[in-house]
Subunit: 96 residues, 7 copies
């Protein structure tokens, strides 16, 4: 059983960054909203513009994305915890 | 007696997820808004865009949907408690 | 003397649901905004879209409607108390 | 000396409803914003839509209108106290 | 030295209403925002609509206008105190 | 080294008004936001309208402008303190 | 590993201004939000306008930009701390 996200929502599986690896993303322990990263499992069809047409999302399944630690809402699907967030909550896509 | 929802509203019958089944959706007991799921009983004709045309909803009758636990407003129709919510409150459609 | 509502306003005469009838709508006694129902006595011509054209309402005179208990503003016309609310405050139309 | 209202503003002379007459509008003494009625003395040319065209108001001089008791701003013109309000604050037009 | 207002701003010289004259505007001493009047000294070219075109203001130099007592911001130009306000803050134009 | 402002931002060098000169602008010592004046050093290309086209600003380099005392953000460029503000914060252009 | 920013986000590497150099930008030690500067490492494809078309950003890779000290969110990529901010948070581009 899986989730097909509506609108501009994205299903993300959180992936812990290797905090001690020099080439990995290391998130500073500063106060406030801390970024995090994950893998996109599913994307919605996009929000509708003023003419009612859906605008496809800019992220796709498999993307490694950066988002705020408190972005989205956690649910468990098939025993696996995933996040449902809006594409707006995603700051960027990590590229190798 | 049934409800024909207006605009972008959706009538949802709450369905408890099997929290102990490995293949079911298990909602973590974390603080804050907890997601929940249900079955769509009726959908409105959609909101109107800037030109006054109605945009059909993306969910349909029979869909199993995921939503925030406090989404919508509970009413009893024919002795059955249902939720009236906006499509915007629905995070995704569960697919088998 | 009657009221011709402006814009997207609707005149509704509150009708008490039979709370003990199995086939009627029974509103739970939970805290917060409680839904209620009534009969539409008059409807406005609708709001104007971005081009200044009026969009006719989706409810019509005679509809039995469901709304939040605190929706609208109560006035007495010809000794009869009615509610003036916006169509937006109406959640759905009850169908037999 | 009179006032020519700008935009979507309306000049209204408050008229007390006969509270004891069966056929008049009687405003309940409930808490919160209480409706009231008056006669329209002057109307503005209307707000502009997104293309800059003015949308004529839906009320006209002479209309008996229903509005919230605290709607508008009171000024005295030629010794007569009137209200300057937005058409949005008018709930409906009373028809005989 | 004078001010050329930007956008939808208007330069107004406050004029005290004759509060004791029967034919003048008399502002009630009620609590809250009190209306006031003045003469328009200069008007901006207007705000831009969604297509970037400027919409000329509805008030012109020389108009006697009614506005909220706390509308605008007072500055002194050539020893004369004037108000810089938005046209939106003007309720109407007084006509003889 | 200079600043090229983005969007609708304007670089302004604050100029103290001669408060004792009869022909200068004198700002009253009232409470609240006090207006001030300055010279425009640089202007951005303008905000984009709904079609993505940039709307040129209405102020230009060299203009003497009036703005709220707390408008903008102070930075020092080449040892000179300037203000970066939005054109929206500018009330008008002073003309000789 | 790098970040490809989404929408109107910009990746900026903070660069300390030489505060004692007469020709450099010196940020005053006043209270409140303090501006800062940095170099643009990557830019998103831009936000979409009302017709769903992306509007390219006005800053480009290599630009030296001025922004509020608390703008954006700090992340470490390949051991280097960078800021992810919206173009809206950038006040201007420094030119030599």
């Amino acid at each position: 059983m899986n989730i097909r996200p509506l609108h501009d929502r994205v299903i993300v599986k959180r992936v812990e960054a290797e905090r001690t690896t020099a080439s990995g993303i290391v998130i500073p322990d500063s106060a406030g909203e801390k970024p995090d990263q994950g893998e996109v499992l599913a994307v919605g069809p996009g929000k509708r513009d003023d003419n009612g047409k859906q605008i496809a999302l800019d992220v796709k399944v498999g993307d490694r994305v950066l988002f705020g630690k408190y972005a989205g809402q956690a649910v468990k699907v098939d025993g696996q915890e995933v996040l449902v967030m809006r594409e707006e909550d995603i700051m960027g896509v990590l590229v190798a």
